[in-house]
């Protein structure tokens, strides 16, 4: 079983890193979004500092979702989804493995870039550390929520918008607690741990729900 999952992880990472695979697109989108915000807001450093964490979270959230609508659709189009369904491994684990590959290729680079981009927004080091840790805990959940949307849209053509509409409402709690934890680290009005633990709880919830729901959606899509 682990051999089949390792094969899926390896293949999806290769596909993401090859030409047209989309691993770089999320990072470029994130960079572009964070770069243009200061131009829109103007040279108001205190304001940038205050909203910087929120900008990073919104950027990372949207960048994480890029490409997820194709996560199963491309396998459906070339026939390999049938072979994944026939593989001697539970479908939920296959879906979870595909999500892991997507997160390593798209989500992890965003987390790594966050401290650098945070400097561009004038965020102080403690807040920078906080936003990086919250993104590390939160972006896997975004990928797993998107996984459900991707599975629902597996057999639909041009489903990018549909997936965004399905997925964004579910991602709102992550955004709220992610930004709240970062604010807590800066202002010390509430302890950082409280919203951060809620963020981790939501992340763990989607770790369970995401693959199971995606597997159910895929089975229905095939019928």
């Amino acid at each position: 079983m682990s051999r089949a999952l390792a094969a899926i992880l390896k293949r999806d990472l290769k596909l993401a890193l090859r030409a047209g695979g989309g691993a770089g697109i999320g990072v470029i989108f994130f960079l572009a979004l964070v770069t243009i915000v200061p131009f829109a807001i103007g040279p108001d450093l205190p304001l940038l500092k205050r909203i910087g964490a929120a900008v990073l979270w919104i950027g990372a959230l949207l960048a994480s979702l890029l490409g997820l609508e194709r996560i199963f659709a491309s396998d459906h189009e070339d026939g390999s989804l049938d072979l994944l369904l026939l593989a001697p491994v539970p479908l939920a684990l296959i879906a979870a493995t595909k999500a892991l590959a997507h997160w390593i290729a798209t989500g992890l680079p965003l987390v790594v870039m966050t401290p650098v981009l945070g400097l561009m927004l004038g965020i102080e080091p403690p807040a920078l550390a906080a936003v990086t840790i919250t993104l590390l805990a939160g972006t896997p959940a975004v990928t797993l929520i998107g996984l459900i949307g991707g599975a629902l849209a597996a057999t639909l053509p041009r489903s990018g918008m549909l997936v965004a509409v399905l997925v964004l409402p579910l991602a709102i709690p992550l955004l709220i607690f992610g930004v709240a934890a970062t604010d807590a680290a800066v202002t010390n009005e509430i302890p950082f741990g409280a919203p951060f633990r809620l963020l981790c709880a939501i992340s763990l919830f989607f770790l369970v729900l995401g693959p199971v729901a995606a597997a159910a959606a895929l089975r229905h899509a095939r019928e």
Partner: protein, 199 residues
């Protein structure tokens, strides 16, 4: 092991494709499913594979303990090759996915007479070469039941002869072959089902 289908029936889009279809296949036996376009050949194969639930009837594997997915190789009309990966990488993926246990990637590609293409991206292959690469999946892991959907499409004469030889060897090892086709496959002694005329 024996593959038993009892009273199979399937509807697609509100239309009955076939009903009350029964057959039993033992070791070394083969079944050729023929019929006009749209008569349900692919649907029958997908139903046997377990990719589609039958609307009536049942399929069972007598003498098979493992999950049904581990009994079948399914080669559909799509080749399931990722264009940006090389032919070798594509096949290595399917070898890992199905648990291995069969021929190595190199040996399987050699056998399909496309050993020289292992390092090429699958996107540059011709339709016939892609078909051979898809059929190479049959060799990289041992499965008793082969479900082949138009396996000979795009294959040249040599390719068709090679396919016939592979199917003969598989039946010689007590394997079962079920092929949906409108071409003539060299499957001596195979049973035939024709869909869309009375079923």
């Amino acid at each position: 092991m024996r593959l038993l289908a009892e009273g199979l029936g399937s509807m697609r889009g509100g239309r009955s494709l076939f009903r009350d279809l029964s057959f039993a296949l033992g070791p070394g036996e083969a079944l050729v499913v023929s019929g006009a376009n749209g008569s349900g050949k692919t649907t029958l194969l997908r139903t046997i594979a377990g990719l589609l639930p039958p609307d009536s009837g049942r399929i069972s594997l007598a003498g098979w303990e493992n999950p049904p997915g581990e009994a079948v190789h399914f080669v559909g009309h799509l080749d399931a090759q990722k264009g940006v990966l090389t032919v070798g990488e594509n096949l290595a993926f399917y070898r890992g996915l199905s648990g291995g246990g069969g021929a190595t990637v190199e040996a399987a590609l050699q056998r399909m007479a496309i050993g020289g293409l292992a390092e090429l991206p699958a996107a540059v292959l011709s339709a016939g070469q892609r078909r051979r690469a898809a059929l190479a999946r049959l060799l990289v892991s041992e499965r008793p039941i082969w479900l082949l959907d138009e396996p000979a499409s795009s294959l040249d004469t040599n390719g068709q002869a090679l396919l016939a030889r592979l199917m003969r060897e598989h039946r010689g090892r007590d394997g079962i072959v079920i092929a949906a086709t409108h071409l003539n496959l060299d499957l001596p002694g195979a049973r035939a089902i024709s869909l869309g005329d009375g079923h």
